[in-house]
């Protein structure tokens, strides 16, 4: 793509993508900071008590998670659209305007969370402070803002896909993103019936992270393989369609594993167990796919007599590989651990869920979105081969190592909770605290905090590497 006034980026869509990635990285940092505050509170309960309570810190932790990932996802789409469609994104000016609307809304919401925290039990609080529903706490006014921004984004994607060359990847993204945006509407109402509330709440949470987001990741992996190792589009897109079939085929009805205990009928036991047990299969397939294509391309290279790596962006490829494996491990294995109702009766609502949540969000989403940031850095700076640096290797090691350590610690904590608080003592208030005061539990929380700290150092190195890449002479231009 011809270089122009946009400092070599070559397109306004790509420029907007870098804006999205930048804000995403900042919010990623915020997520880690508020996670650390929450982790400290497990170890030292008096820390910031009645100043920044666990409920507030944790709300910021998980909302920042959703926000940075959505930003990085939007950024990824704006980044790949010109490559895939061969044209500039249609309506990019409106896209840029909506970016600033989105950023402004997020900043206001964060300030309200931080400084107002809770309100009286009335509709005004729901509209202007927060809705108090895990992951989608954003107040109602912001819900409408998010819908407008999401519609603008989907319109950009659709108009560009229709006008330009609509590749398989773009086709999947179009179908996926309209579902992604539409599902958000399921979380935008109030009801006195908590069972009804949670039924629809899961339509947003589950059908995002175990269906539409996973398909999104499949599309990014397909795009990344074409870009980074020159994989054949035909093969990659065929795999993508198979993955879509497997992911949606298992993931949509896999929602049943959230309907075991919330007041919903017993038939969800069977449906949830069956379909969610199938959910790891596409994740295995995705991992095999990445390994297969890599081996195939490198093999071709070897056959032509060259020992040179086919990978033109090492750090991005490391993160994409981490995604393929982490998705399988975090979402697949750690999810399968407690997805059968016989097990889930005891693990539901314990640190087991937390262990799975951490590794799955990181393995399935954080990894590939960081990989996309590296692809954008490469494209923005016109780098032919982007190499690993000390900082990039340390960043990936500390982030991944910290996350694994945290996951293992939380799994052990969950194990104590399941045995003591649930199986032995029957889940009361007293049972809960007996589990929490267990030595294994307390030590697990120390380790979790330590490993959170390790992750934060990894994050700082990641940022250092990302911002210094442009000037680093080690990369081939």
């Amino acid at each position: 793509m011809a270089s122009n006034h946009l400092t070599g980026i070559g397109s306004e869509s790509r420029q907007l993508a870098t804006w999205y990635f930048t804000f995403a990285a900042i919010i990623f940092g915020a997520q880690l900071l508020f996670g650390l505050v929450s982790a400290i509170q497990y170890v030292m309960p008096g820390f910031l008590f009645e100043i920044l309570d666990f409920s507030v810190a944790r709300m910021l932790h998980i909302n920042a998670l959703i926000v940075w990932m959505v930003f990085a996802m939007f950024g990824s789409v704006y980044w790949l659209l010109p490559d895939e469609t061969g044209i500039e994104t249609v309506g990019i000016k409106i896209g840029k305007l909506l970016y600033w609307v989105f950023v402004a809304a997020i900043v206001v919401v964060i300030l309200v969370y931080l400084f107002i925290q809770v309100g009286p039990a009335d509709e005004m609080s729901i509209w202007f402070i927060h809705e108090g529903r895990e992951y989608i706490e954003a107040p109602r006014w912001a819900d409408f803002g998010i819908v407008v921004v999401a519609l603008g984004f989907v319109a950009n994607l659709f108009l560009t896909g229709i006008k330009g060359n609509r590749s398989g990847i773009v086709t999947v993204l179009m179908a996926d993103m309209i579902a992604f945006a539409g599902l958000y509407l399921c979380g935008m109402f109030f009801t006195d019936n908590i069972s009804m509330d949670q039924y629809w709440w899961w339509w947003v949470i589950h059908l995002w992270v175990e269906a539409t987001w996973e398909v999104f990741v499949g599309s990014l992996a397909a795009y990344g393989l074409i870009q980074m190792i020159g994989a054949s589009r035909k093969v990659v897109e065929m795999w993508l369609w198979i993955e879509v079939a497997m992911l949606f085929g298992s993931g949509i009805l896999g929602i049943g594993h959230h309907y075991f205990w919330i007041g919903t009928p017993e038939y969800w036991w069977e449906i949830g167990a069956l379909f969610s047990a199938l959910e790891p299969l596409p994740l295995v397939a995705m991992f095999i796919h990445v390994m297969y294509d890599w081996g195939k391309q490198q093999g071709k290279q070897a056959a032509s007599g060259s020992e040179e790596s086919v990978v033109n962006n090492k750090p991005a490829f490391v993160w994409f590989w981490m995604n393929a494996f982490g998705n399988f491990l975090g979402a697949g294995i750690w999810g399968f651990f407690h997805t059968l109702p016989q097990v889930n009766l005891y693990t539901h609502g314990t640190q087991f869920t937390s262990a799975h949540g951490h590794l799955a969000f990181f393995g399935a989403y954080a990894t590939i979105l960081i990989g996309m940031m590296y692809l954008a850095i490469q494209g923005t700076n016109g780098i032919k081969v982007l190499k690993n640096t000390k900082a990039s290797i340390w960043a990936v090691s500390l982030l991944v190592g910290g996350m694994m350590g945290m996951t293992i610690a939380l799994t052990i904590a969950g194990y104590v909770q399941v045995l003591v608080s649930r199986a032995q003592m029957g889940a009361t208030w007293a049972a809960y605290f007996d589990g929490q005061s267990g030595m294994w539990f307390a030590q697990a929380m120390d380790w979790r905090l330590l490993m959170g700290g390790v992750m934060f150092i990894g994050f700082l190195l990641l940022i250092k590497d990302l911002v210094t890449t442009g000037k680093n002479p080690v990369h081939l231009r």
């Binding site: 008590f49 009335d122 109030f190 369609w241 949606f248 009766l345 007996d434």
Partner: protein, 228 residues
């Protein structure tokens, strides 16, 4: 030479993906209609007619609620107003809630509405779990109403110096840090007396929801094992 196999044809897989996704989505929507019918909130007439709903009406606060084994279903179920011996509710035995057991449908509904709003605006779910969903920093509230700690013999009721479970819970909610039970405390969330009443009604109502036996053995075992 043989023709190209359909198994390596992108169009084939694209169509398969569309059909599978469509089929799964239609099945989910169909099941959703059935579930909506089963989890819609009941009303006062259900209790009079002996109809068991998965999510009973708000006037459930007028009744005694327990959590007992149903031999037919093989797990515990909420029993409202007495057990018929087979694990079904009789809807007869009443229990005073803040001094009354004649809360009308409107009054009880308003109380539950206030309580549900409070549960969201006070951000309960980012420390506690409700129906097992939320954060893991504080105890699960699904059956909190039935927790022996709040009962007449319970430590929590004794601590607040109140005579009834509902008053003790309301008192704690209004001044949580006055009654620390552990180093990890609940913060003061500015909960008013009315809001506390609503929240307790919300908790009592939630304990009457049929959660398919979650949590198992709730409150049955006290001090059986030393947690360390």
């Amino acid at each position: 030479m043989a023709n190209k196999s359909v198994w390596s044809d992108n169009r084939f897989w694209q169509r398969s993906a569309a059909w599978i996704t469509g089929f799964a989505a239609v099945l989910l929507i169909w099941l959703t209609f059935d579930t909506m019918g089963q989890i819609s909130m009941g009303n006062d007439a259900d209790f009079k007619n002996g109809v068991t709903k998965r999510v009973p009406g708000p006037t459930v606060i007028n009744y005694k609620i327990t959590y007992e084994m149903s031999t037919k279903r093989g797990h515990e179920v909420p029993i409202i107003g007495g057990n018929d011996g087979q694990g079904m509710s009789l809807f007869q035995e009443k229990e005073k809630f803040f001094g009354r057991d004649d809360w009308s449908e409107e009054e009880a509904g308003a109380l539950l509405h206030l309580g549900k709003l409070g549960s969201q605006t006070k951000n309960c779910m980012n420390c506690h779990t409700l129906l097992g969903n939320g954060a893991y920093y504080a105890p699960d509230l699904t059956k909190a109403w039935l927790d022996p700690a709040w009962g007449p013999e319970g430590s929590m009721q004794a601590m607040t110096g109140k005579d009834t479970k509902e008053e003790a819970m309301a008192e704690f909610l209004m001044h949580p840090s006055t009654y620390p039970t552990h180093a990890r405390m609940m913060p003061d969330l500015g909960i008013t007396a009315d809001e506390a009443k609503g929240l307790v009604a919300f908790l009592k109502h939630m304990s009457s929801i049929d959660t398919n036996g979650f949590p198992r053995n709730f409150g049955k075992i006290q001090g059986a094992v030393h947690g360390k």
